[in-house]
């Protein structure tokens, strides 16, 4: 059965990409493989290949049926970014500022483009355009086919927030504390909204509400057209964890170790669960289950936030799992990749 998980959190809506399905606790590891170097970004999946980036500079393509490395591509620098897959290409950012597109099946390079500083964000593809932010303070838009620059918009801080790209606008947070909306065709500023500290959280969009956390300890819900703050919600510490959407709920972690579920319309707390570990990775919603890596790996109930499964594997700070009907794929900081079933 074909399986796809082409971007961070499965799709551009950060929905986890899965239809509701019955919960089954993983019973065993189908396979485990160690890749060279630490893994900071999240894996992505296309058909039978799981793509795992590493800080040793390898993009590893692992066959999910055998658990064996099919090929690996050596980039000139560490790959901290979560790859994305589009039109038969795998795109990812490097710590030397390069964004590279490689053929998803052969691992040969299609093109590369270069920012002036590291790229930790995940490239986002929409309308044949690749959008990515860099630590050089700029948001870039390049052509999907060639990597040719369409536009570049320089802002006031470093960008570690993966953009949410809608039909007309590009939304993201910035190290200068602002949430930005840019015109997707030109890069021109549409609106910006200030928070009290820098932002490295990636936004999600639910209908007409943009949702994002800040290092000022607040989680924000903004009117997507104007940037006006609809509500904000205070947590105990900063928020790096990108939110996941499940129906009317937005779910995110904060660095104090609490996973929060809020009503998107009102900001009202539906539940909170303390994991005991700082949370910086995004939660992944799959049907009625939330998967979360916060040093150890948790599965929680969406309706009430109760922990229904946990395991000491993954040892990850930022990586989010890939969840399919057949297996859950996890990558950990020390380079271990697991397929749980």
């Amino acid at each position: 059965m074909a399986q796809e998980w082409p971007t961070l959190l499965g799709d551009n809506a950060r929905s986890g990409g899965q239809a509701p399905q019955p919960w089954r606790a993983p019973g065993r590891a189908r396979w485990q493989i160690n890749v060279e170097g630490a893994v900071r970004g999240s894996p992505v999946l296309d058909s039978d290949l799981l793509y795992v980036p590493s800080l040793a500079g390898f993009l590893n393509a692992i066959n999910i049926r055998s658990g064996r490395l099919q090929w690996r591509y050596k980039a000139p620098a560490a790959i901290p970014s979560t790859p994305s897959i589009s039109s038969g290409r795998v795109l990812f950012g490097c710590s030397d500022g390069k964004v590279i597109a490689i053929d998803a099946f052969t691992g040969s390079k299609s093109w590369e483009t270069t920012a002036e500083d590291e790229v930790w964000t995940s490239p986002v593809v929409r309308n044949n355009t690749v959008f990515f932010g860099s630590a050089d303070g700029a948001m870039y838009a390049v052509q999907l086919e060639t990597g040719t620059l369409k536009w570049k918009e320089t802002l006031g801080g470093r960008i570690y927030s993966t953009a949410h790209v809608a039909e007309q606008h590009v939304y993201f947070g910035c190290g200068d504390g602002n949430i930005y909306a840019l015109d997707a065709l030109t890069g021109h500023l549409v609106w910006k909204t200030a928070t009290g500290n820098g932002i490295d959280c990636s936004p999600a969009l639910a209908h007409d509400t943009l949702l994002i956390g800040s290092q000022d300890f607040f989680f924000y819900a903004l009117d997507v057209d104007s940037g006006a703050i609809r509500w904000k919600y205070e947590t105990e510490l900063g928020i790096t964890s990108a939110p996941a959407i499940s129906g009317d709920l937005v779910i995110f972690g904060c660095k104090a170790g609490t996973l929060h579920a809020l009503d998107i319309r009102t900001g009202k707390v539906i539940w909170k669960t303390q994991t005991g570990q700082p949370i910086t990775a995004p939660p992944v919603v799959s049907g009625s289950v939330i998967w979360l890596q916060a040093e150890i790996t948790f599965a929680l109930n969406v309706p009430d936030g109760k922990v229904i499964w946990r395991a000491g594997m993954g040892n990850s700070l930022h990586s989010a799992p890939v969840v399919t009907n057949q297996a859950v794929y996890l990558a950990g900081m020390e380079g271990a990749v697991y397929a749980l079933e």
Binding site: G37, A38, R158, Y160, G175, F217, L237, P278
Partner: protein, 388 residues
């Protein structure tokens, strides 16, 4: 004691030092704690020492700035710490112009490392707000952003605190190692070697960024109790934050952080490059350090201390943490009561009367005896300023 009285040199590949632990810490003779083994130090040959090397331009001087507005609702105020650091730099150097004050330590051609302390992140680590002000100061001395490195040994701890996103554009933010077993970022030619507990790897190597990458280091420790060392301040942030494989110096309940911390700080070129120390005391961890996330033990002290003498600064830090612990009615960090020990990490993180080791605050005085600064409280001049 003069450094020469207890340091012996050998010629085994480069310069080597053998440090007689008993000479560094006579207090050990009163403890039921085994003496530390000899520690072999291998430094690079032919390195010149800097006139700014520790204890630096102002031995025995500590400038202490307090402002309760610097931390409100657990958030550090950028504008208030800006005022505090500016005042501190002026008072430390005697210069009216902060730019001239920074230029006493930093020149435009320098490659400057800002040694943060992210262990304990996210609850207590070097505040990004303070680091940003230090970067502004270094830039005012003419150093381009690309030549400023915010660094620590552990990349994953740097990640947790989000320093990457929070620093100005152009500044490089880096961790020496990506995970616990990563050794690629260390210099095989500069090390401290000792066998404390029969461990397999007996060497601790200096981070390459320190041995060959940077020309100056500004040390930004936090103000914390430490379960093994007594406190962690300038010395521990610098020594154990520069060499790898340091956890091996303590095995419950014993700790050889004295003398290892001081010895590591005395190794060139670290000693020459660390020219300024700015201690973040906006938060004070008075129990559970260095890693606690328990906010019950994290006090909003609203302090910043500045100086060039890490021994004098840590002596004052120790005094403050002892005072706070006394006020809270918990044992001194000097306690040698076996009944206060526990092997249960959870108990340690919840109960301030419990500890994992016999703490070794002696390490500060031992570093003083190595020539790194002044630990005699009577000889330390504290210039204290309370803004609000």
């Amino acid at each position: 004691m003069d450094r020469r009285a207890f340091v012996k040199r050998s010629c085994l590949g480069g310069v080597a030092l053998f440090v007689d632990h008993w000479g560094t810490s006579p207090a050990y003779s009163q403890d039921l704690i085994p003496p530390a083994p000899p520690i072999h130090v291998n430094e690079l040959e032919g390195r010149s020492v800097s006139p700014l090397r520790m204890p630096g331009l102002y031995p025995g001087r500590v400038v202490e700035i307090s402002d309760q507005r610097s931390i409100v609702a657990n958030r550090v105020s950028q504008s208030i710490v800006r005022q505090m650091i500016e005042l501190g730099m002026r008072e430390l150097t005697g210069e009216k112009d902060p730019r001239v004050a920074w230029s006493k330590f930093i020149q435009p051609q320098d490659t400057v490392g800002i040694k943060i302390n992210p262990s304990g992140a996210p609850a207590c680590c070097s505040s990004p707000e303070i680091v940003r002000e230090i970067i502004a100061g270094v830039r005012s001395a003419g150093v381009p952003a690309r030549n400023i490195f915010v660094y620590d040994r552990y990349a994953y701890e740097v990640d947790i605190a989000s320093y990457q996103a929070l620093m100005p554009i152009g500044v490089r933010v880096t961790g020496v190692q990506e995970h616990k077993l990563d050794v690629a970022g260390y210099d095989p030619n500069v090390f401290c070697e000792a066998n404390f507990f029969g461990e397999w790897e007996t060497r601790s190597y200096m981070a390459r960024i320190v041995s060959s990458g940077l020309s100056k280091i500004i040390n930004v420790p936090t103000m914390k109790d430490h379960s093994a060392a007594g406190v962690t301040g300038c010395l521990k942030n610098l020594g154990y934050g520069t060499f790898n494989n340091v956890d091996r110096s303590h095995r419950r309940p014993f700790s050889f952080t004295d003398p290892l911390i001081g010895i590591m700080c005395s190794v060139e070129p670290l000693r020459s490059k660390a020219v300024l120390h700015i201690m973040d005391g906006t938060r004070m961890v008075w129990h559970g350090g260095p890693l606690t996330q328990n906010r019950e033990f994290i006090f909003p002290a609203g302090l910043i201390m500045m100086g060039t003498d890490p021994v004098a600064m840590d002596t004052i830090e120790l005094e403050k943490i002892e005072a706070k612990r006394s006020k809270e009615g918990v044992p001194s960090v000097w306690s040698r009561d076996p009944s206060s020990l526990t092997n249960d990490g959870d108990e340690f993180f919840q109960d301030a009367s419990k500890n994992l080791f016999y703490r070794q605050p002696h390490h500060i005085a031992a570093a003083g005896k190595l020539g790194l600064g002044i630990s005699d409280r009577k000889q330390i001049e504290v210039q204290a300023f309370r803004i609000a």
